[in-house]
Structure formats: structure tokens, C-alpha cells
Symmetry: D2
Subunit: 301 residues, 4 copies
């Protein structure tokens, strides 16, 4: 009846680093929240309380800040890859490192039609994410990058139907050929390479996702997501797989008839909970092995 | 030693109504979260448990939804005024009504350079707010409107100093002539009239606030706020007073010297708590009487 | 058309200090989140950008931490009074200081029926709050203390009715003689003295509020709140006024009849938004002047 | 270059049901927030937009409410098992169902030393969780239950050391033999049977976790977690595996020396971010196959 340590990882979460590029009077800023973690054989730490194999999470944090200066931040993905390799180099008992990054979006403040040199306003429209997993070192090294966007809140005021569904004893929902469709999208896509234009590809994938959400006539959130994913895979050969997590943010048509008021699809109650939750993966038949790409990604697989 | 009921109000909070204007294929949406409240002599309800004077908060909610269709939503301010008057008409024991509205910002999704007809993405850059207070009816009616913006997160990567401050036993802060200045601004301005272009004025005030934040060389957040407010009052005769609440979102320069790395204003730790909190009012010497304009506005006065 | 600075205040928010009393092996902990603010004539800072009158918020934070050692933390109220006096002594342009404190509740972990000496678990059941306002110094000094509790989530599964209310065009709510009543209570009471047993009185008032919530047969949340407040004023001569803010956390009886299932008050949908919001003050006829006691307290007065 | 649907699931999240047991005047309440999801071959819905296989999430929600009356709520685990079996029976294309439940804790309000019959106060001390996964039907049915607790905030004011750790270029952390150890624990344990006293076992496991946190002299959070897990497995034969996710809620000793004040482990700054994050699994060598037990559980494996 032996008891033992199973899978484990440790690191530092919520490292909020802002990097200002100020080589010229026209500054640039990158605003990252970084999480690091190492996995491997850390049984001495757990079972014996001996920390000789454990690089403190405080040192991990320090490295994140210092790398922001030493390496710069060209993209979250590259930044994450550099950090993961560093941690594997410095921590001999780790066999994998995971870096998770969220990037806040800042735009230049408009002053008389011009973007200001060093003043910025935070804008929404989704948060960029990157998850990097590296296993091993040297010849044995494999690296996986999953990029994505979260908190991308989108809505269609028409062009969405829902009918013909399965019914059981507890079904009271009415069928509809015109409803509001809204979600706060999380999309994550897995690259099959680390040799690409991270920033340009991110922007292009996000733009395509939005465009397809707008253009697909929806018969269910499932079908919309699938169509969005299919388009991304068709257009981007560097992506092998895309995963969606999409709350169905219900907009209920309000019954105004008790007040003698007609409501032909104009006034909705935007409800919080409960909400539908649709999760799906779209991938290539010949997708590469994901390895640890999805390690510790909250999800449904 | 008599005990009695003092000031009181009641209403419905968090009414999330989405109004779709669909008269043409090019839809418009307004996304409001509305709070209503009535104040007056409701002692029967409190002291005796007799609800004969109390219009249920459920009825208030119903009115909000129905008005979104009956009156439409041209602006949060006008919508709030209509609701306040309605509640005062329907509830004879109320002597004041307060409507608080937050409006989420949606932009058209870009499809090949064109904004889509009925697909939208939620964008940030601050939430529009409106607080309407109406007292009395008919000849005795007075109405106050405070418009504003919250969650307006702005940052300057230079052009901000902080020095020459008062020092006491507990002062360890170093003076600086170059720091990051960032805040998540709440600004609320009080109109001296209800006869104005609500949407146009809101947009213009917000743009001016951003521009001034960018352009004012800062010697403290206090001075930046004052300058922003002064500009608004100078430019908008319809505004008598503006109030700011601004957390000083500290960005601490990270000491990288232990790693032999120089950090000349490039890498910052964006801290959460504790944070400075600066609150200030800027107003005209000849400002009109605010009356109930600031009733129940969280603040510092 | 002169423009000027109006009311203003500044300070440090979110100072999270944990004080361990370890004079004996049986430790005690106090876990406070403190906000400080100073008000007065700070126009030089705002208008001229001259910080000579401004004690940095960083120094305020330092004082909070140091006072936790120098003065100890017997009660949030006493701790706040000491801080307020200190800030007024050190900052000559301030004419008032406000200290706001929330205290997290920790209980000893149970080990075989005994509370452990130095291991604790955080428990809920409401957060203790204290707001201290001091104006002036020396002979002119006046001090006000408002204590309270927030996040006190309570529910009655019966003993609550709601009927006989005012009806208008938009009223569809049905009357009921048996419903669930639930709220997340904020209660704040104003003392007429600073010479009292802060901890004992807090505990006794909170216990009485809970007891009265349980025992009052409710005809509306308004009447429950009034009854709770009246009891507190009757029992505690040191309290002149009590204010409540109470969301009506609606529990809707679920209609199970489409499934042939009866639901006599047994299954409820606990909704989030919208919610009723009931706010009321109960006070003595001969209450002392509140002065600045309620300064910057979010509320409805 | 074919593209296809991969793993997917869909359901309803955030169903907040409160069940009152009122057979006698002494009521009981169970307060559950339930999420449901179905997985299987739903490609028609995704690829073709045909919803014939899709039981609406609205019907799932209805079933949750109705089951609260039809079956009652003896324990979250049993309630989840009944729901999962129901969904698999009603939805022929699903091959698995997952039910996730959080239970809020209510205690009777104390009235003169007695717990009230029908008035309750919500208490903290951790939220009970249950995750049920059922695959297949009839002879092929397998069921997995993972119970747990989250938001269990615990702290030790001494009895915690951290030293002897690995050092690299970026290590500046000082070693310590006496620090505050605090975490907001998530623990989830996997049962190897569904035939047990769910409520009694939950209470006993939680009590043991707390006791061990208190009693283990800590050389790192890793070692504390391992010791807690080992004890659970030693005491409960029905549990095969336990997983922890534990943020290291740093309490930094405040340097008061600039103010001439000594601080021997008495005043701490409780920081929010960044924080360490320690995740570990403890399991039996002869643990049963987890199957889908951990399906879609946020984590690190």
C-alpha cells in the first residue's frame, strides 16, 4: 500500500511586468502578466522537505523581470520560449517548463488626430494569450506554443437560429429562427512550428475569427465555432489545432405583452447565470503530436 | 429616547438591458446596466411593515425593459430622465428618484475593411456612466444629470515627476523626475442644464480628458487631474463641476542591479495593492447649486 | 468665470497588514486592510504642482505598518484613531483624516478538539469594518467612529411575506405569504463616544443583528432592517445611528409544473442580477451631530 | 489536408439551486451551483449545424432544478451521479456526462445559544466541491467521483522554514527558519468507489487536511502538501489519489528599521501578486485507473 508523489509543478503566477521601449521619443509598451512553472522529479522537496532541487519561485520572478530588459519583449511567445529554456538550463531536476502569458492591449491616446508619443489608453477587444511548454534540453528539446485570445466579447443581433434540437421530458425551450448570439470567446491555437511571425500571425488569426463570427449564419454556437476554426486551419498552415471555450451569453427576449407593448427582437435581458458553455476542438487529420502543448490548459480534453 | 427612520431609498440594481435598433439592416445596439431607486417617506413600509406605498422593485425593472422599447435609448441620460419622471408619477410617496446607468461599448466587427451590419465586438477604453436625480413633480420638479466615464485606464511612460513633497519620520520614498504615471480613472461631470447633445458632449469631454492626460507634464496625479478638469470647464459651459477618483496604479522600477543589469526606466513591476487614491473636485466659482445631483455617488465629499 | 479646486482627499488604499502577537506560544493574529486619506487645503499640489504640503501616500503606508508594531492592534477602531491623529500631527495642511479598515476573520484550526496555537483558518460570516474620521487637532479635535460589518450573507427559508404593495402599469409580481428572504448585509453604526469596549461591542451588535434577522417575522426587507436597527439602538446607548445597505438576493421559486412536479417552497433559483437594493437609516431623535462621521461612506444619504 | 472536429463538450454552467427541506419546522438548506456537460459524437451539430442530437442546455438546467425536488439533495456527489445518468439516458449521442458542483456552507443563526429553525448565515472555511464523470450506460457504465474543497484559506504564523534551496544568477531570496505560511487551498480527492458516506467522508477528510496543515512542521509548501495528502491516503482506503493546488500567499516581513523599529516576525505585508503556485498529486502505487475522473479539471497533469 505504498504512497507516492505523482505529477507536480511549481512556479510563480501573476508576475505583472510592463516593458517600456524608449530608444526614441516615440515609446512602445508591452504589458505582460506572466506565470512560470517547472515540472520534473521534485520528490526530495515533497517527501523529504529538502529544497536542494528547488529554484525558488522568487528567482523565477526575478528572471522574468530581468529578461524583459536583457532580451526585450518582441512577442509573448518568444519571451516565453526564452524563459522556458532558461529555467530548464538552470534547474537540472526539471524536465519541463511552462510559461503562461497574458498581454494587455494599450493604444496611443489620440491628440488632435495623432497618436501620442508616450501616453496610452487601455483598450479591450480581447486579451492576447500565449502558453509555451518546453521539454528537455539540447538534442532532446521539444517546444510547443499555443497562442490565443480570451475575453473576446462578441455579439450578433441577428443571423442566428436555434431549432430542430433533441427534446426530452425537461425541454421547454422554444425554437427560434432569429435570436441574439453572444459569447465571451476563449480561442487557443497550437502552432506546429516555432519559426513564424508571432505578432503578425496573432493579429491575422484574431481578425479572421472575428470576421467569421460575423459572417457565418449561425444554427448553433457549435456550428459557428466549428466554422471559425475551420477557416483558421484552412488559412494558416502553421496551425494544427484550435480549441474554443465559449459561454453562450443568453440574451432573453423580454415579454412586454403584459404592458401592451410588442417586442419584435428589440429588447433583451442579458443574463449572467446560468449560461451555456460550448467547448470544441477543430484540428487537422494529419496534426502533429501535441506533446505537452496543452499541458495544464484549463479545458475539456 | 425615540427612535425613528432616517434617510432611505430602495430600488432595483443591475438591470442589464440590451436594445437592438433594427429598423434597417444596419443594426445599432445600446447595452445598459440600469439601477433605479426611489426615496421619500416610506416609514409605513419600514416601521409598520405595510407595503401600500411601495412600488415593487420588480415593477421598476419591468418599466426599464418596457421603456427601452416604448421610448428607445437615444442616450443613457435621456433614458434615465424618462424613467425618473415615470417613477415619481407612479409612486406618490417618493419625493426623489435616482437612475444610475453604465453603458458597455460595442464596435462593429471589421469585415474586409467594412463594419458589419449586425455583428459587434465589445471594446474597452472606459465605460460611459450617467446618474440622473429628479426631485418633485410638475412645477416643483428639478432634474440633475451627472455624466461620466469609469474604468478608463491610462498610462504615461514619461512626462511625470514627483518630488519636493513633505517628509516625516516614515518617509522613505525617493524623489524622481521621471516615472510612469498610470490610473484607472473615474470622472463624473455635473451639467447645469438638461438641454444638450448628450452623446456628442460625452464623446467630446472624454476625448478632451484623454488629450489633457497625455499633454499635461505631470508633477503629481493631483495636478494632472486638476488640469484635466480645468480644461473641461473652460471648454464646456454646460458643465459646472467635475469630480475625479483616480487610483495611482504604481509602476515600480525593478532593481536589476543584483543581476548586473541596468534599468533606466524600462522594466516596471505593475503593482495591485496598496495603491494611492487621489480624489478631487474642480468647479466654477459661480457653479449652480448641485441639489441632489451627487446623491448616493460613491465619493469623497 | 473663475475655476477652482473643490473638496479633495488623497491617501493610500489597500494596505494589507497582518499583525502576529507572539508574546506566548499561543499566537494571535489580526488581519487588516487599511485605507488612509487626508483632506484639507491642498491647492498648491493641484493648481501649482507643488508637493510641499503633500505627505506621500507611501509614507502613510509605512506608518500603518510601523504602527502595527509600535501601537499594536487591539481593535481596528483604536488603530484607526491612532493613525488619524498621527497624520493630522504630521501634515499641517490637512484638516481631516479618514481611516478605513476591513478585518478578515481567522479562527484557530481544530486539532483533536483543541484550537491550535499558531495555525488558523479563515472563516466567513461577515467582515468587520471600521471607519474613523478625525477633524482638527488639540482643543479643536473631534473624532467619529463608524463600525460595521459587510458581506454578512443571511437567509430565511420561511417567515417572510410580501404583499399589499403599490401596483402600477408595470406590476406583474405576485403577492406571497411565504418566500425566501436573503441578503448580503452591510450594516454600519455610528458611536456617540470613543470611550468603549470596541471588540466586545462589535461582537454584541453583530450577534444582535443576526438574532433579530432570524426572529423578526418579515413583511418586507425594509421592515426587517428597521426592526434590526431599532433593537440595536435600544440596547446600545453608545450608538446613535445605524445604516443598512441590503441587496434583496432573490430566490425565485422554480416552476416545475411542466414536468408534472409540485414545488411547495422547496426548490429555488438563486438569481444574481437584477436584485433589489434596500437602504435605510435608523437613528435616535436626539442623535448627536454626525459631523464627518459618514464622510466618503458609500451610501444613499 | 482534411479538417475535423476533435474533442468537444457542451452544457450549462452556473445553475444556482437552493433546496429547502421543510418536512419539519426545522428546515435544512442545500445551496449548490451546478455545471453540466455532455461529450460524445456531436459532429452533426458542429459541422452541419443540425441540432437533432443536441439536448438543449436549457433542458439540462431544467433537469437540475427538477431533480432537486424529485431526488432531493442528500449530497452533491449523489445528486451529480443521478444527473449524469439521466443525461446519458436521454441523450443517445453522448458517451460521457460530467457534473460539477460547488456547495455554499450555511450555518444556523444563533439565537440565545440555540440554532434557529429557519434562519441561516453563510460561513466560509472553504467551499465543498464535487466532480462526477460517468461514461456509458448499463453494463458499460463507469462512474468516477472527485470530491474536494476550494477557497480553504489557512495560515501558520510560525512552524515554517524555507532554506537550502537551489540558487542561480537570479536568486536574491534570503533563507529563513521562521516565516508565515499561508495558502488558499484547493484539494481534490478521487474515490475508488461510489459506495460510501459522502457527507461524513467529506467532513472527515477536510478536518484531517486542516489538522495536518496545522501539525506538520513545514520546510516548504510542497512538503506540507505531500504530508497532508499522505495522511488522507493512509486514513481513507476509499481514496486513491489527491491533488492540491496551493498559491503561496506571501506574507513579507516589513522592514521597519528605517523608523528605528524592530520587527521580529510580528508585522507582515500580505501580498496579492505575484504568488507562488504549488501543485502536486499524491497517490497510491496501486491506484485504480482514473479513467475520466479528472476530465476537464483545471490543473497541472
Amino acid at each position: 500500500m505504498a504512497i507516492r508523489l505523482g505529477p507536480n509543478q511549481y512556479g510563480k503566477a501573476g508576475i505583472h511586468v510592463v516593458r517600456v521601449q524608449r530608444d526614441t521619443p516615440r515609446h512602445e509598451i508591452r504589458d505582460l502578466t506572466v506565470g512560470t512553472s517547472l515540472r520534473g522529479d521534485f520528490s526530495r522537496a515533497h517527501v523529504d522537505g529538502d529544497q536542494g532541487d528547488v529554484l525558488p519561485t522568487d528567482s523565477q520572478k526575478n528572471a522574468v523581470f530581468s529578461f524583459a530588459k536583457e532580451k526585450g519583449v518582441d512577442s509573448p511567445e518568444e519571451f516565453g520560449l526564452a524563459l522556458a529554456d532558461h529555467f530548464l538550463a538552470t534547474s537540472s531536476r526539471a524536465d519541463g517548463a511552462r510559461i503562461e502569458i497574458e498581454e494587455a492591449t494599450w493604444s496611443r491616446i489620440d491628440v488632435d488626430g495623432q497618436g501620442h508619443d508616450h501616453a496610452f489608453v487601455q483598450t479591450g477587444g480581447g486579451t492576447r494569450t500565449a502558453i509555451v511548454n518546453v521539454d528537455g534540453r539540447g538534442a532532446d528539446r521539444t517546444a510547443h506554443v499555443v497562442s490565443g485570445v480570451c475575453d473576446l466579447v462578441v455579439l450578433k443581433s441577428t443571423g442566428s437560429e436555434f431549432h430542430g434540437f433533441l427534446k426530452d421530458t425537461y425541454t421547454t425551450l422554444e425554437e427560434t429562427t432569429d435570436r441574439v448570439l453572444a459569447t465571451s470567446l476563449v480561442a487557443r491555437w497550437r502552432y506546429n512550428t516555432t519559426d513564424l511571425d508571432w505578432n503578425g500571425t496573432f493579429a491575422a488569426v484574431k481578425a479572421l475569427l472575428l470576421k467569421q463570427f460575423a459572417q457565418i449564419h449561425s444554427y448553433a454556437l457549435q456550428q459557428t465555432l466549428y466554422g471559425m476554426g475551420e477557416s483558421v486551419l484552412e488559412e494558416f498552415r502553421v496551425i494544427d489545432e484550435i480549441r474554443f471555450s465559449a459561454p453562450n451569453k443568453h440574451h432573453f427576449l423580454v415579454d412586454l405583452s403584459p404592458f401592451g407593448v410588442d417586442n419584435p427582437g428589440e429588447v433583451f435581458h442579458a443574463a449572467d447565470r446560468p449560461y451555456g458553455l460550448i467547448e470544441a476542438t477543430v484540428l487537422r487529420d494529419d496534426a502533429t503530436d501535441p506533446g505537452s502543448a496543452w499541458h495544464a490548459v484549463p479545458g475539456f480534453v
